[in-house]
């Protein structure tokens, strides 16, 4: 018998993914600093930079918000990203929460520009997040 339960927890996830794909479905990436080298003075003195790793997230939709009300030359952007992609990366990285995932990241790489993560909110259905709304901040002109 076919499952027609509209309260399926995965239905909202699939619907969000389909919606994001239909709106462009671009891929973005979370940038993480690699682990520091233990006992290395050079890194603590700024003589050598740590390596970084970009973890892809998608599908996602990126847009600028309140572009004209930017302060200090900064513009605010909004990213809608699939919860299934975020959850998968969280599991892969062995993190226990979304807050931990975004706090560990240096920022988000969108179209080659690194933007700071200002905040993350989740849209939920039946107690499960199906889409994350990520507020980003970056210099005006970085992403025209």
């Amino acid at each position: 018998m076919t499952d027609v339960n509209t309260r399926s927890t995965t239905a909202a996830l699939r619907m969000a993914d389909a919606l994001l794909h239909s709106l462009g479905g671009s891929a973005v990436a979370l940038r993480f600093p690699m682990a520091a080298q233990s006992g290395q003075d050079a890194e603590q003195l700024g003589l050598s930079a740590p390596a970084f790793e970009d973890v892809p997230l998608g599908p996602a939709v990126f847009r600028r918000v309140r572009a004209q009300i930017a302060k200090d030359g900064m513009a605010t952007y909004e990213l809608l990203v699939s919860a299934s992609a975020v959850n998968a990366q969280m599991t892969t990285l062995g993190l226990s929460s979304i807050a931990e995932l975004f706090a560990a990241a240096l920022g988000m790489v969108v179209r080659g520009s690194l933007l700071s993560v200002v905040g993350v909110t989740a849209s939920e259905a039946f107690g499960q997040a199906y889409i994350y709304r990520v507020q980003l901040e970056g210099l005006q002109g970085d992403l025209l």
Partner: protein
């Protein structure tokens, strides 16, 4: 000036490891003594508590001597919310402990100047030396006590140094 700044930081870091080995910070997967130079780390909006954060500020050079005397100010900032086991009610005690540890770290007030590169360090001919710390009044915000101590660090410019 980079050699003086680096030598000062390394001296404080190594002295902190002796003064209080338990004061550490877990940064990018590695545990190390709880002192860092802000400009050498990833930018953050929320600085960590219970460690020392060094911020280099004013710079001046006196060229009236046989070798140029460089002077750079170092703000040493530290904050504490106390311990969660005591509900933060011991934050005053924790700050006093950090005051005391800092004074111990800054004594003696000199260290050999070293030249640091990605591959290691070599000793230079002179010492880096500094003034006694000038402690500012404590500020409090949302249960977190913060103090800044300023130290002026001096160094003679050696041959080959910018």
């Amino acid at each position: 000036m980079e050699n003086a700044k680096n030598s000062f930081y390394i001296a404080l870091r190594n002295r902190l490891a002796e003064v209080n080995p338990a004061r550490t910070i877990f940064l990018r997967g590695v545990s190390r003594p709880g002192v860092l130079v802000e400009e050498n780390e990833l930018a953050t909006t929320k600085p960590p508590n219970d460690i020392y954060r060094l911020r280099w500020t004013k710079l001046s050079v006196n060229r009236q001597m046989h070798a140029a005397l460089e002077q750079i100010s170092c703000e040493i900032r530290y904050s504490t919310a106390g311990t969660s086991a005591n509900g933060g009610m011991d934050r005053g005690q924790c700050l006093a402990t950090m005051d005391d540890e800092l004074m111990q770290m800054l004594q003696p007030c000199s260290t050999p100047k070293m030249s640091y590169t990605q591959n290691g360090s070599t000793a230079m001919a002179t010492n880096v030396f500094w003034t006694a710390p000038a402690f500012e009044a404590v500020s409090e915000a949302q249960g977190v006590l913060t103090r800044t101590a300023t130290v002026d660090v001096f160094s003679l410019q050696e041959a080959g140094e910018a």
